[in-house]
Symmetry: C2
Subunit: 324 residues, 2 copies
């Protein structure tokens, strides 16, 4: 049975790194491989790197490509799953890249494409929540904030495959300028970039914090985990900044619940992974206070446990669904 | 064929009035009847008034109840279509009222229940848009602001049948207090109540406006149509207030598009009916500027032409769908 096609590969294509994972038919993770993306080398070079990363992980797991039934890949930005094109990915500098066609040519395997946050939501939905909720909203807080939607058990990506851009929901019309051109998008309050920017501005204004002791005055290499360490060591300033981000996230969650009334809202991404204990209680409290009628009425607000593997898991789920 | 069941009744149950309409099998409106709701008399009395209104409109159209295949009713607030109960309707003072059961007992006909804004969206979807878009968001701006969602061709009302509460999407975390307890809900900027409140506050502060000439200093009986008349007669103050409401509405529409990416966003309700020409160009301009990538990419933003009949039309659509 060495040649039976009973494995799936999920690929998480990010602006910095490409992560690939092999999963068995029960969605158990067998192994992973990682290469840097190097988007500055152009789309053709990046697609070659994806190809290599896929071959690496298959080899690492003592498998051959013949045992892979399909590959699911999540790309950052606007994608068209039907044509298999990445329409626009700012982090990669891509426009209209026929990713599926090129990868299929290289690997001779079925490849399926979706937006990275949609695919993370799908991974959480099927692997972590066992496909139980009918409707699920996923919010992923990292450098930026993205989201994905499951409606009636299926990925929902809307008319132009652009649903779930939760980070660009305006929650303060007079708020800080966002990279998208709007003011006061959710992302300007709670993304890693927003939190880091606030901290750096305060330090410039003379704020004392353990972070400068830990990392130097310029906060070089500041990571989400450093925020948790500073809070644990009693840094009230960092604690307050993180609490504010959680509070804004609670308002955004309430907005989503008021609009979509999903059964579950799941939060993930690097910020949530690093600061789950600090942020989740505040997010849940604020969301509950802010939803209509002031009750969650059975709606659950959870942190995903999949962490960095949400994307590759979702990729495998997508490939398994599409090759059934 | 006088007794063939080929007609449907739509009922729009509001806090002030009950409107019922008879539709033929092609959803052509045959006739309407209207009675005041008088919610202060209690749920039993209101249900009797709905029964009477239905009998009146059937008689008015020279039909008998035997020729009615089903009744669809939209109620303001949270409803459970499956149990046929109105869970909570603040305008009516209702909690847990078994509306469907009681009406079926009186009329001996199948009765179907949904939220009023969901049913308006369904009416616009099937009658006005010929069921063409896969996904539709409806926004109805009257005394308050409500919404409804069609996803993949079906009414989508979420986990607790409370999806579409678009009026309580926070768009300014530091904005005016809303009746729901939040600050800066969309409803606090663009509903009729919000617009009237702004006008009244400005008059108190000495603002001159044609509205006081038209209606007296206390603006007794101010209606949405008076705003249009004042603007047409050159009242720059009223024009500015209405433009601001339209601008906030554009931001709310962009938020919805960024989250749901629907094919069509339709606006209706008394404010839009009265001020379509004044508001729609501003709403569309602002939404276009505010959506991600700054392009609507084929997404249409329309004003409904169904006006006050959206609710009864949707009721007939619901009854026709459910009795198929």
């Amino acid at each position: 049975m060495a040649d039976s096609k009973d494995h799936f590969i999920g690929v998480d294509l990010g602006g910095t790194k490409i992560l690939a994972g092999v999963f068995d038919n029960s969605l158990e993770l067998i192994g992973t491989a990682k290469v840097s993306t190097k988007p500055e080398r152009g789309a053709t070079a990046v697609i070659e790197r994806i190809d290599r990363c896929v071959r690496d992980v298959v080899d690492e797991c003592d498998l051959s490509l013949k045992q892979i039934k399909g590959i699911g890949i999540g790309a950052p930005g606007a994608v068209d799953p039907e044509s298999g094109k990445v329409l626009r990915a700012v982090n990669l500098g891509w426009e209209d890249v026929p990713l599926v066609k090129e990868l299929q040519k290289k690997l001779d395997l079925p490849v399926f494409l979706s937006n990275d946050c949609s695919i993370c939501t799908l991974g959480v939905y099927e692997r972590e929540l066992k496909s139980k909720p009918r409707t699920l909203a996923g919010i992923f807080i990292g450098t930026g904030i993205g989201g994905g939607l499951i409606v009636n058990g299926s990925l929902f990506d809307g008319f132009n495959h652009m649903a779930g851009e939760i980070g660009h929901m305006v929650i303060d019309v007079n708020g800080p300028k966002c990279s998208c051109g709007n003011k006061g998008c959710f992302e300007t309050f709670a993304s890693r970039s927003a939190i880091f920017r606030k901290i750096q501005a305060a330090i410039k204004d003379g704020q004392k914090t353990l972070l400068t002791e830990m990392l130097g005055d310029d906060l070089k290499d500041l990571r989400s985990g450093d925020l948790r360490k500073a809070i644990k060591r009693g840094d009230k300033f960092v604690e307050k900044i993180v609490e504010e981000a959680a509070d804004y996230t609670g308002i955004a969650v309430a907005n989503l619940i008021n609009i979509l009334n999903p059964e579950v809202v799941v939060l993930g991404g690097g910020i949530i992974e690093a600061l789950e204990n600090e942020m989740m209680p505040i997010i849940i409290k604020r969301a509950k206070e802010s939803v209509l009628l002031g009750k969650l009425m059975g709606i659950e607000i959870l942190a995903s446990k999949l962490g960095d593997n949400a994307g590759i898991t979702g990729g495998a789920v997508l490939a398994r669904r599409e090759t059934k």
